[in-house]
Every structure is written in C-alpha cells, then in structure tokens.
C-alpha cells in the first residue's frame, strides 16, 4: 500500500482509539479537549527547551570568541617580543577554538530552525484547539445524537491528526535538544575542570600567558636592574667621600661597602 495512505491510516487508527474510549461521544469531546490542552502545554515546553538550549550555545559561542580574541592578542604580544614559537602556539590554539566555534554555529542554526518550526506548530495547534472548543459547544447544543456523532468523529479525527503531527515534532525537537544539551554540558564541564584551558584559554592558568608575563616580567627586571645600577654609579662618589670622612659611617654601612663597591664597579 502507498506510503501516503499507510501513514494516514496509522493516524486514523490513533484517532479512532480516542473516539472509542467513551460510550457517550460527547465525553470523547471533553476528553479530547483535555488532551489538546495538555498537548499545547507540552508544545510550549518544547519551544522553551529549544530556546534555553539555543541561549546556552550562544553563551558558549561568546566565551569561545573571547578566548579567540585573547589568543590573537597573545600571538601579537609574542611576535612583538620576538617569540615566534609562542605566537605559533597561540595561533594553533586559536584554530582549535575556531573549529569548536564552527561546530557550535551549526548547532545554533539547527536549534534556531527547530525553534521557528515549533513556534509555528504551536500557533497552528492553538488555532485548532480554539476552533475545536467552539465546535465542541455547538455540537453539544445543536445536533441530534446521530449528527453529533459524525461531527464529533470529524472534529476529533482532525484535531488528533494535528496533535499527532505536532507531537512528533515536539518529540524530535526534544530528542535533539537533549543531545545538544549533553554536548554543551560536556564542554562546560571541560572548561570548569580546566582540561580545556589549552584550547579555550579561559581558565586562570594559561601557560602562554604565563610565559608572556614572565617575559614581560623579565623585561621589567632588566629595566629595574639598569635603574639600580644607574643609581649606584651615581651614588659611588658621595659614598667614597662619606667613607673617607670616617666617623659618620655606621658599622653596618661599613660592612656593606666592600660588597657594594665591586658590584658598582662591574656595572659601570
């Protein structure tokens, strides 16, 4: 049998089950309406789940973009300091971050599409639920039992088909969202544990930064050293005068002088 017909038969079987559930078809209307309201809630929850998941991916993308910028800055600093090896390392990591970012981007677009589809499905279902509520009252009030029965059959089949359709969409979106949440959670955990610091550069201990800081620090030490040497060579003359003047020099200064003087001599 054809695909189109088989699928529609499966949907009809589902609707008939709902119709057979109660002896009084009017009860089926009320039961069905209850199910519709539940389904609407479920669809809205589905939309909210997808939105949450999308936002989480968005946050991770922001974090990765930041660490990319940081690695870029580090690469520049390293190059400026003549450390091409370090710059290369930073750029390699930046590439790794880029790969992750690409992956997240794909996820993000897919979630966005799901969110859009589910939002539309939920609007469609909502319109039908409203239509059903109106019809339900009309059917109950106006028609003879036989007529009511056939109209109930139509309305319930129609709505149950819609619910089946929307229900599958919600299920699919929820499965997919759960998978993505798991992956996003794994990235979060890796970041928190520090295992990803090499890639993201967001953890407090970042060896590229440490080396850059050390280089910067080393530079500062050199400057400091030069400054001190300058001071010392400037101070040499007065100290010699003070030394030759005798009496005023404390024993501590006298003890220090033999050490200081050769150092000052080396520097000049």
């Amino acid at each position: 049998m054809s695909v189109m017909k088989r699928v529609s038969l499966i949907f009809k079987a589902k609707a008939n089950k709902a119709l057979d559930k109660y002896e009084d078809p009017r009860e089926t209307l009320d039961y069905s309406y209850q199910r519709q309201l539940e389904m609407l809630t479920q669809v809205r929850r589905g939309v909210a789940d997808v939105a949450t998941s999308r936002k989480r991916v968005e946050l991770q993308m922001n974090t990765l973009t930041q660490s990319q910028n940081k690695l870029e800055t580090q690469a520049k600093q390293a190059l400026g300091a003549g450390r091409e090896d370090l710059a290369r390392e930073a750029l390699t990591r930046k590439q790794g971050v880029q790969n992750q970012l690409n992956d997240l981007q794909t996820q993000y677009h897919s979630l966005q599409a799901d969110e859009e589809k589910l939002t539309m499905a939920s609007q469609r279902l909502q319109s039908k639920v409203e239509a059903f509520r109106t019809q339900k009252e009309t059917i109950k009030a106006t028609y003879t039992a036989a007529e009511a029965q056939s109209r109930i059959g139509e309305a319930v089949s129609g709505i149950s088909e819609e619910m089946g359709d929307v229900g599958m969409a919600v299920q699919r979106a929820q499965d997919k969202t759960a998978q993505m949440q798991a992956r996003a959670g794994a990235i979060d955990e890796l970041m928190a544990s520090g295992a990803l610091d090499d890639v993201t550069g967001t953890a407090p201990r970042d060896d590229i930064q440490a080396e850059l800081d050390q280089m910067g620090g080393g530079h500062d030490v050199d400057l400091e050293l030069a400054r001190l040497k300058g001071e010392l060579s400037g101070a040499e003359a007065p100290r010699e005068i003070a030394g030759s003047a005798g009496g005023a020099v404390s024993p501590a200064q006298q003890a220090a002088e033999p050490v200081d003087q050769p150092q000052a001599g080396d520097g000049s």
Binding site: E130, S160, V166
Partner: protein, 92 residues
Amino acid sequence: MIVRILGEGQLEVDDAASDELNALDARLEAAVNADDEQAFRSALDALLGRIRSLGAPLPVDALEPSALILPDAEATMDSVRELLNGEGLIPG
C-alpha cells in the same frame, strides 16, 4: 482532497491530481522497499514539491482529517520506516 505534510500543515489538492500523486507515491514506496536512500530522497522531494505547487493551504482553524499524510521534507528513510511500522511514534 486534503493532504497533510507532516510538520507543515494541511493543503487542499484537486482530486484530479490523484493519479499523478499516486505515481510519485509509488516511486517513494519502491525506494523505501529497495532501501535506496538516494531514490527515496528524490522521490520525496518530487512528491512534496508537486503537492506544494498544486495545493492551497487549509485555513489554520480548519478541523478536518486528511485523506493522505506525507512525511516531512527532512524525514530520513529510517524515520519513514518507523512511521510506517510504529504505533508508538505518534503521540496524542
């Protein structure tokens, strides 16, 4: 007749198109039976495309069962097979 494309909604299609749609549907079925993913994809695209171009969307508040129901455009062959076999797949 009313045709539903899963995930998209319902369309009203002239009964005169029946034969053409059935022929396209037969191609889809053959592809599923032959486990031919490529043929499946092109048959599904052709069928959905034809229905979209022939049909007029039903008003959103219409409550009518469809004569024919079709998988959504992104459906895989496996998901269609599940749909054809499965009771559990359709909630509601």
